[in-house]
Symmetry: C2
Subunit: 166 residues, 2 copies
DNA sequence: TTCTGACTAGTCAAAATTGAGTAATCAAAA
DNA sequence: TTTTGATTACTCAATTTTGACTAGTCAGAA
């Protein structure tokens, strides 16, 4: 329900079309969610069926008609319910990249070290990138701070792993 | 390819049936991967088609026949390739639970604080659980240490967020 | 001995997700 | 002016994932 919460939250601020929503999420929220275009439309369609949003056909000049989505009262209620649920529960994260670490001892220590250093480089690149993101307004600043905090903690841990080899 | 790497790595140690693989992963690796039974069978079937593993019909006593999966030479090669790829790259994690935080300012500070404290409790429970997991042998110990390190870092961050409200 | 609940070993149809399109508009270069 | 490339707004078929079964075995209780 996290992606639904996000879509409702954005539509709460202003009516938008699916394409706009997808673009915004991909540009600004890619650190929290990965939402492909067809999935966005699929979710929006389901939310229309649930009565959380309305579809409105919009015709602008001689451009082809577009579909605008608009929050309903029920959508507003659902937004608040999902928001409370989301904030009150800790969602445990799966670290799929740890699978390799579980088999680290099948490699020569030298090679393991070299590969982990390659990983370290790409982690440092991500961290540097994240630190360059300019200050946002309001709560969405929290999302960036969380990302930076996490990447720093990952770097610490990776350094510990590398130093322990041999 | 992470789940494929895991399945190959387990089959490398010993032949197993799909059910066994699924049970093992769910009991011991649930911190890294979430692999449902039908998905496990689906992946195994695909790996048979790719020539990474063989299917063998096994008949034990008068029990119904079972399918045992066995690594091929190609599977062994693929395991090493996937392992190197996995270790050398940093897979960025998506924090789906941050979506709520992006809308934190739509709530009253008092309520936000209360909800975040509920989240904190469930995080502490997870951390306590993780710290109770007994020492494992070899590299899989790393997976547990990573989990604990991450949960501690999350707790630190959550406390910072809570203290900043108001 | 027969019943019950738990464990083993899967399968299947339905739901969710995605890569790879289409088709229109517009701005700017050739 | 024609072409080219980028942007907007979607769609569809194919792939992947899942909840909810089925069906056999076994150990112990009634």
């Amino acid at each position: 329900m996290d992606r639904e919460l996000l879509l409702l939250g954005l539509l709460r601020q202003e009516d938008m079309h699916g394409y706009q929503l997808h673009e915004f999420i991909n540009r600004n929220m890619s650190s929290c969610v990965d939402l492909k275009k067809p999935t966005a439309y699929y979710l929006l369609e389901k939310m229309v069926e649930s009565g959380w949003i309305n579809e409105i056909q919009e015709q602008e000049g001689n451009r082809p008609p577009r579909t605008v989505f608009q929050l309903t009262n029920e959508g507003e209620t659902t937004f608040h319910r999902l928001l409370r649920e989301n904030i009150a529960t800790y969602h445990s994260t799966k670290f799929a990249d740890d699978i390799g670490l579980a088999f680290l001892d099948t490699l020569e220590p030298e090679e393991a070290k070299a590969l982990l250093n390659t990983r370290r480089e790409s982690l440092v690149r991500e961290l540097t990138q994240a630190q360059l993101i300019p200050q946002h307004s309001g709560s969405s600043q929290l999302v960036i701070e969380h990302l930076v905090h996490h990447l720093q903690s990952e770097l610490e841990w990776l350094d510990k792993v590398i130093s322990k080899i041999r």
